[in-house]
Subunit: 353 residues, 2 copies
DNA sequence: ATTTCAATTGACGACGTCGACATTGGTGCC
DNA sequence: GGCACCAATGTCGACGTCGTCAATTGAAAT
């Protein structure tokens, strides 16, 4: 591999001068600069970052630790946000996945430290409470899509599940819905409670009595291997004699199953029942017809801004305890509509849209 | 940061001896070894890989270049396969995303070279023909989920779209289906043609005349911004007076829309119509009820084996032109069933399952 | 002409690690 | 005892880069 000295020799200058050119330092004659640049181009010289980092104690590498990278399809957006930030700021991204395994996580930390990376973005693919397995030496770390357990101080950045869910519920109430069904996420996920709490709060604020709410558990069990009750529960809720006019699903994947259940029962969406989801997981939310009203999670921004927070931290400017919350926007699409008087029988075959 | 010399000083030995212990070299007294290990633990010493790589000219880092990492939800599995291989073989993974942009791609190559990584896995998130923008100096590269344009030699690893599609079609034929609908992928994708060709070949081999096949285009336009005709086409096909008894969709996302169309028309799956997909994108294939018969793409293995091929290449043992094809398995679930008599037309085959 | 000063360039060493080689001390053998 | 040999350990330098500081040059100021 061609080194700075090779360039120096070819250009007929000292290695230091080449270094100056490469790093854009001042006080280099246009003449020599040209010579050097020519030599660089000729030889295809590219600076060795490892060597550079040895001297500077900065690698410009940030690490991402994920738990279940491929299990959830959203993950990509967070990672992409980080990558784009990195690309825009001259950093490189080291990626590691733990599969939620403690031992692997420890290995990953060790490896990252061995690479002397500047900082770590600890990305939990489900919004929940985590404690990174930090060892003796510590690296600046920001938790993304999660927050630390009590007693541990890490800056974190999270989506505003509560706000999003509150707004979504309000959206339905403003459309005139007074009986609303709710299918819960796996309670292990932090978002699950926040979303449910917000739902209840918004319903109460909207003057809806608890008896008009139908709340069911959609999933439970360890993350990645949960049992799924959604389809069954949706069928059940939508078969009630006095069925809700709207059904909120813990996320879009659940909404998919609710759609199928509704269609299976011959109900039209949104004419007979409004169905909404959460996440704006676009394969589903745009794939469903009519397209799904849902709440967009700011995954990309979580990644981008998380990287930015980390950068602050690395530069000693960030706060050790900052907790940033990103807004979640309701995306109103065609699956939600005004509540209507509830007909008795509906023809199974509806109209095209 | 604590270095090998700090450890040496604390342990009362030379740095070289510490190096020996760290690297498991022979000829160290159990006694000294213990002293050294104690010092390492005390100080929390972790070897500096950058320094190591400077000497050894090996970084043990492999790079992944992706084009549309988050656009497609499968991507994660390929990356995870690579990561798991890396974890199992003491390598680290550097990740970069180009968004399909030439300029960014050039930057990425440059950055990777600057890091002196051992090799690159060029992962195209859609199976298609690519040419990595290699510069002057070249890094060992393996194409994953894609293959090089004519005239360029890179080893590659790809899924057997043809075989999978052939088997899937045969599966339907063996269930008695004689009129089959087919909704095509975006023709820009390499898999699109392979899957269609295999479908036609299998149909012909099964003695089905072309006039009993209904083939429609489901999507077209630039990747990431395509126009989607699937729902409309599915409605259209399933509304035909003499409609197919089975509908093959270019991928699972398309199958989702076909489901919705079928349900919308009051058709039951699989009783009235069999619907199958491709990809085994589990959010969809398991989320749909009944669960979707589809073809599993070996994404994880693509990643794992791709990494392994790359490793061979790096070690000078691999072939520059190997083209490895991984089998795609039909995953028969409940969305496909025996063809049945339908409406006006009577079909000989008519058992329930 | 001499001095002063700034601009330009180079020599050198250090970063952390490990390969090549040297040194030390002990063991076994005649 | 003398010698060969080997195990254990250390010394030194090089990898590629860049910070520090010195050297050189030329031009402006006196």
């Amino acid at each position: 591999m061609v080194s700075i000295k090779d360039v120096a020799r070819v250009a007929g200058v000292s290695d230091k001068t080449v270094s100056r050119v490469v790093n854009g330092e001042p006080n280099v004659t246009p003449d020599t600069m040209e010579k050097v640049q020519l030599a660089i181009a000729d030889l295809g010289y590219i600076p060795n970052l490892a060597a550079r980092s040895i001297r500077s104690n900065r690698t410009n590498i940030i690490g991402i630790i994920t738990d279940f990278i491929s299990t959830t399809p959203y993950s990509g957006d967070i990672v992409r946000g980080v990558q784009d930030w990195a690309g825009a700021n001259g950093r490189t991204v080291l990626l590691a996945n733990t599969d939620g395994d403690q031992k692997r996580e420890a290995d990953v930390w060790r490896t990252f430290k061995a690479h002397r990376i500047d900082g770590v973005l600890y990305v939990a693919m489900y919004h929940r409470v985590v404690v990174p397995a930090v060892g003796e030496v510590s690296i600046p770390t920001v938790l993304v899509n999660s927050h630390p357990e009590d007693g541990y101080a890490y800056p974190s950045i999270e989506p505003d599940d509560f706000g999003g869910s509150y707004d979504l519920t309000q959206h339905l109430i403003s459309l005139g819905h007074r009986r609303i069904g709710y299918i819960r996420l796996n309670p292990l996920l932090l978002g699950a409670n926040q979303r449910l709490d917000a739902f209840l709060a918004a319903a109460q604020a909207g003057g809806i009595s608890e008896s008009d709410l139908v709340i069911r558990l959609g999933m439970e069990g360890p993350i990645g291997r949960e049992t799924n009750y959604v389809h069954r529960e949706a069928l059940d809720i939508l078969s009630m004699p006095n069925r809700p006019t709207a059904l909120i699903c813990g996320n879009d994947e659940m909404a998919l199953q609710a759609y199928l259940a509704a269609l299976h029962l011959g109900l039209r969406i949104p004419d007979d029942v409004t169905i909404v989801g959460f996440d704006d997981f676009r394969t589903v939310s745009l794939g469903l017809k009519p397209e799904l009203t849902t709440v967009a999670l700011p995954y990309y921004d979580l990644g981008w801004q998380g990287a930015d927070m980390l950068d602050q931290l690395v530069q000693g400017k960030g706060s050790e305890t900052e907790r940033r919350i990103l807004k979640c926007m309701v995306v109103a699409r065609r699956s939600s509509a005004m509540a209507r008087a509830q007909g008795q029988t509906v023809d199974a075959v509806g109209t095209h849209n």
